[in-house]
């Protein structure tokens, strides 16, 4: 009986959280979060331009700063372009396999949350 009630609740919860309209909302929200964290990171890179070479942990970022002779414009451009490409890719996957897209977007959002915590807490 308990299992039946729990199962019923889970199905109810799932239908509320993951039903088609909610699923789209979740997906859009997660995508927005991913883009917002990426933009925030890019803004910090611009603001801390004079010392970013000491702080930057991303080796690709360091390399881009190096080939731009210490300037961060190339790094920021590649970063934001990459965010746009990933977002577009996620939307295409969503149109093909919504569950798969939601799972991968959730994983990306978790990673971005970690990045946001690192940027905020230090």
């Amino acid at each position: 009986m308990l299992t039946l009630v729990q199962g019923h609740r889970w199905i109810l919860l799932r239908s509320l959280m993951m039903g088609a309209p909610y699923r789209t909302l979740w997906f859009a929200g997660l995508l927005l979060f991913i883009a917002a964290v990426s933009v925030h990171d890019a803004v910090l890179v611009v603001l801390l331009e004079d010392i970013i070479q000491d702080f930057e942990r991303n080796p690709v970022g360091c390399w881009l700063i190096e080939i731009a002779q210490g300037s961060v414009w190339l790094f920021v451009l590649v970063k934001l372009l990459g965010t746009s490409l990933v977002g577009a890719g996620q939307v295409m996957i969503y149109q093909w396999r919504p569950h798969l897209a939601l799972a991968s977007t959730l994983a990306l959002a978790t990673f971005q949350l970690g990045l946001l915590l690192y940027l905020s807490v230090g």
Partner: protein
């Protein structure tokens, strides 16, 4: 008939390149749409940052720290250092701190506060007075004591970049020199006692003799001069007939070692008591890769040598025989300074934030200070106690 045609068209598969092209087109369109969304987010963040003035950039991380100057008194009790560190912050990311070290309690360095771009530190040999010369021309004075006291402004010169500073052994006088004049102040009340014009151009260094009767100067043009403190007159002058690239005084000011410019830079040692000028012919030919220091008795010279295999090394030489007595490896940072204290201890400070004291006789490290650890700890404590605004520049 029409129905039949429609059925036939449905049966024809779309060519794969058309499918691919439509996907590419959709992907491009979506990428552009996402880029627009990113631009909107960027604009929103810019509005939040600049229009509303919200400062949510973390201030907890310190990436690097370096020690740029260091001075120690004759007793080896008090030392003062200039620590520079970088922290994650939107504003004032570069911090210049003056730190006082009580070497009787070396585990508790005393933070004296931020100063605007310090350039030189001097400490009196036998009193607790010290002074800080800044790039903006301001001169600050302070007292070495266990309770931290803020630095007091003494004067402001027009040219801080070319300014050299000295503090008398008894702490009564502070002297500074720019490319035109030598200034003398009484440190107790900050009164300017004398302003002596000189024709030596930019000075390399300035020092009070141990008895406070003379003020010693080395000019970049190649003159070593002794000035009377009481009279302000030039007492003696030595012409070295070459531009001076580097100079270092021994504690007390009896000896000065200079590096003379030329195709082959020459090191020379001048004894100001006898006027004897000696060439320092070291047994191992070395480049000059950093600062140098001469011991109180003029018998030992410390130089810096860089090798790819070992990094920076401090080498200790006998000034009479030219033999290398010892060498110490210093790690990865650029050595910013070397100093022989009156007791013979050799101090070295570097761009990685380390101050290391070497006891040359016993061949061991006598004391060390890590500015990076200190800055991280200080910033956390100040952030908890007073909030991050405690670190704003004065």
């Amino acid at each position: 008939m029409m129905e039949d045609m429609s059925t036939m068209n449905d049966g024809i598969a779309t060519p794969p390149w058309q499918v691919l092209a439509s996907h590419v087109f959709r992907f491009t369109w979506l990428t552009l749409a996402m880029a627009c969304g990113v631009a909107v987010l960027l604009a929103a963040e810019a509005v939040v940052l600049w229009q509303l003035g919200v400062n949510y950039v973390p201030k907890t991380g310190i990436a690097t720290a370096g020690v740029w100057d260091f001075a120690i008194d004759a007793d080896g009790r008090w030392a003062v250092s200039h620590v520079v560190y970088l922290r994650k912050s939107r504003d004032e990311s570069l911090q210049n701190e003056i730190v006082l070290h009580d070497l009787q309690q070396p585990e508790h360095p005393i933070r004296l506060g931020a100063a605007s771009y310090p350039r030189q530190l001097v400490i009196s040999a036998r009193s607790n007075r010290f002074a800080v010369g800044c790039y903006d021309g301001s001169i600050l004075i302070g007292k070495a004591q266990p309770a931290p006291t803020p630095l007091q402004p003494l004067a402001r010169l027009a040219d801080g970049v070319a300014c050299q500073l000295a503090c008398s052994a008894d702490g009564q006088f502070i002297a500074a020199a720019d490319s035109q004049c030598i200034y003398l102040w009484r440190s107790a009340d900050g009164q300017l006692l004398r302003r002596t014009p000189h024709a030596n151009g930019i000075l390399q260094s300035l020092l009070f003799a141990d008895d406070t009767q003379s003020l010693l100067s080395v000019s970049a043009a190649g003159q070593v001069c002794l000035w009377g403190v009481a009279s302000g007159q030039l007492q003696r002058s030595y012409e070295l007939h070459a531009a001076i690239e580097q100079s270092a005084w021994s504690a007390g000011g009896r000896w000065v070692t200079v590096v003379l410019a030329g195709a082959e830079p020459r090191r020379q040692l001048l004894d100001l008591e006898t006027g004897e000028l000696r060439s320092l012919d070291l047994k191992i030919a070395r480049r000059i890769d950093g600062p140098l220091a001469v011991s109180c008795d003029g018998a030992r010279l410390a130089t810096v040598y860089y090798a790819l295999t070992t990094g920076y090394c401090i080498e200790l030489w006998d000034t009479h025989t030219g033999e290398r007595l010892d060498q110490f490896e210093c790690g990865g940072g650029n050595l910013n300074g070397l100093l022989f204290a009156a007791d013979g201890t050799l101090y070295a400070w570097d761009s990685k934030g380390a101050i290391t004291a070497w006891n040359a006789a016993e061949r061991q490290q006598a004391w060390s200070f890590c500015a990076l650890q200190w800055a991280r700890k200080e910033l956390n404590v100040a952030g908890q106690n007073q909030g991050v605004s405690a670190f704003s520049m004065q």
